[in-house]
Symmetry: none
Subunit: 404 residues, 2 copies
């Protein structure tokens, strides 16, 4: 038996006019997994804990995020194809717009013109014997790695995550003198980057074009290389990730999974998820475990757009679940779930448990539809995300016996 | 209130033609416990973890097997009535048949003729200042204890657990030089035992009789004396075990329970379980906690025999549950469950949660039948085996208050 885990990011929700987007959506294929399989609800990290996408996925792959998570930066670095050494500090960055000393746009108007060139200007700078790697990811996003011991990740963000306020000064968050040193270096880098960017030809050109200039780097989520035994060493199975989201790719790279990137897959509601479904079916030919991640549901949730979320769910049902069920059903355990709830009403992640349905050699229960409240009556009852891979591999008969 | 825990080994299952053996069985007495009691499902060790019988029972008695389990050998030693000292290494053994250097039968044809005498020949051997205790248990099974510091349990098995292959060489599984020394001693013992057994009169006689010779010792599951506070020190109640399975008796002896062995109880599907039921009823007269273990369900499961498992469940219902309910119902909390699932379809333990029903001073729920899926809708929801004794003693009003 092979195993397939399908995560629709942020798919869980609360009630809007008496229904969740998942309950309101027409999704016959998801419902058939619930009907023929076993269902339940799941706390990805821990009851009542609002998971980030990174901590949620760590937990879903069996790693205790309370013990292993060091920050978002390292996973962004892995997601950008960079590698980390012991002692490096990685920080996630935005190329943003400063106007009269205040942040006018945290994403530089989302216009990508010239950003690659700007990022290259910031790469390779040295400050106080610390070498700085700066690499642009998708859109306005970038990753910064500080290299040169002794450094510490215990520093605050320079990104205040709000507008009309100056960038924050990074300060140490513990008493380690290395933290003070690291915060100082990040602040110096922020100043230097401003000087380099403000007067840069690219920004003159952006302004001419009517775009916002990308004239400051805002940093957040500092962390060091997380100590994670590989997925393969844990489960005896390598696993492959099909995702277009660099943070998720980063988590999967950090635990040594193979990565399949699909052309046309964007991580947005317009993503070519049909192609991802095809890639998933293909990947199952030579992998015992495939993880398929679809981001659009979370994006619609953060936009607070019930209809867009409902439509995205319907499209996933039609373009992903249907084709996948047609092609891989018989020899594969299929688990369908989310990484966390992102209720459209609050536009951010919540700790509401998420529905899960598993198709395979399971005790089919009486639940007929895939939804938050239907699945809450399923025979899995309420499970913990940390043990999901164990449960899936047990059903696929790939689990090891503990004891005799 | 007294307490009775009845474990039907490996009773949980998956669906065969839409039903589990438990669901298919006629078992009015088990159903009456479900109907009058409270029900639920239980993960013995942890969601998704496939328990061995030893780790399962440790957990059911309240001991964290991830922290306390050192291997199967020590429990087999306790089950054989031997005692362990700090530093001893105990290994579970089979008397097996070697032919032309390959293992021809891991159980020497299951014929017991002369095995007791052969085992005595191997007892008391000394190798490199390590004294070897070798004791035969039931059938072809035996226990080996290495005595003489410094030893280490971090050694691999000599039993490859398959046929037509030579016995494995034991190798150290860590870098401790004591592990190398221990593995070397086990290998020397294996060679010596072969020499002693091959030419032994008993084996000449076995061959004459048409039996397979028992000419090699295969060892597995090395472990040291586990650090287990007694059951009585944990719960203030001594407890007594009624079982015919040496591994389970071993776990119970390791935690200081009394043991009742019942004549005619074999641990197989032909066991005289009526007598075990009588012994259980009697034991409840002078014990506050009795643990009754019935193995036949697991045996039928490992044979992949749905019908035999169903019949065994029906016999347990008729010959054990019925009489027990008649005689001890009123003043006794009765918990009925399994130690793990052993689906007949995969013929090995699985992590599927097991059904549980508890009769006593409980909140009777609406579940009417004792089965995997019926109990999944019970009011206990999904519980963890580690806390089962606490739950039982709480219902029996024998629990201590934590706090004030």
């Amino acid at each position: 038996m092979k195993s397939l885990l399908i995560i629709c990011d942020g798919m869980g929700d609360r009630l809007t006019d008496g229904k969740t987007p998942l309950e309101a959506a027409l999704k016959p294929n998801m419902d058939s997994i619930a009907k023929e399989g076993i269902t339940g609800i799941m706390d990805t990290v821990r009851m009542g804990t609002r998971p980030g996408s990174d901590t949620a996925h760590l937990s879903l792959f069996g790693y205790d995020p309370f013990k292993t998570y060091t920050g978002r930066g390292p996973f962004e670095a892995y997601g950008a194809g960079l590698d980390l050494r012991e002692g490096d500090v990685a920080v996630r960055c935005n190329l943003a717009t400063l106007r009269n000393g205040n942040i006018a746009d945290r994403r530089a108007g989302r216009d990508e013109f010239g950003l690659e060139q700007l990022a290259r200007e910031l790469d390779g700078i040295e400050i106080d014997n610390v070498k700085i790697v700066f690499k642009r990811c998708r859109g306005h996003r970038a990753v910064l790695i500080l290299k040169g011991k002794p450094l510490s990740p215990a520093i605050s963000d320079t990104d205040p995550e709000k507008l009309n306020t100056p960038p924050a000064k990074s300060i140490p968050t513990d008493n380690n003198p290395d933290s003070k040193r690291t915060a100082d270096i990040l602040n110096k880098f922020t100043e230097m980057s401003q000087k380099i960017l403000i007067s840069h030809e690219v920004n003159k050109e952006r302004i001419k074009r009517g775009d916002l200039p990308a004239n400051i780097v805002l940093a957040r989520g500092a962390g060091t290389k997380p100590k994670l035994p590989s997925f393969e060493s844990r489960y005896g199975i390598k696993g492959v990730c099909v995702s277009a989201t660099s943070l998720i790719i980063g988590v999967c790279r950090a635990i040594g999974m193979d990565i399949i990137e699909v052309k046309g897959a964007t991580g947005h509601v317009d993503s070519d998820i049909k192609k991802k479904a095809e890639a998933t079916v293909n990947a199952l030919r030579d992998h015992d475990f495939v993880f398929l991640h679809i981001k659009g549901t979370d994006e619609a949730s953060h936009d607070g757009d019930f209809d867009s979320k409902k439509k995205m769910i319907e499209r996933i049902d039609r373009e992903v679940i249907g084709p996948v069920l047609d092609k891989v059903k018989k020899d594969t355990t299929i688990a369908l779930t989310a990484d966390h709830s992102t209720p459209v009403g609050i536009r951010q992640h919540s700790a509401d448990p998420i529905p899960i349905a598993i198709l395979g050699d399971v005790r089919t229960d009486s639940v007929k539809r895939f939804g938050e409240r239907d699945c809450a009556r399923g025979d899995l009852n309420r499970i913990c995300g940390r043990y999901l891979m164990d449960i899936i591999f047990d059903i696929s008969d790939k689990a090891k016996l503990f004891g005799a």
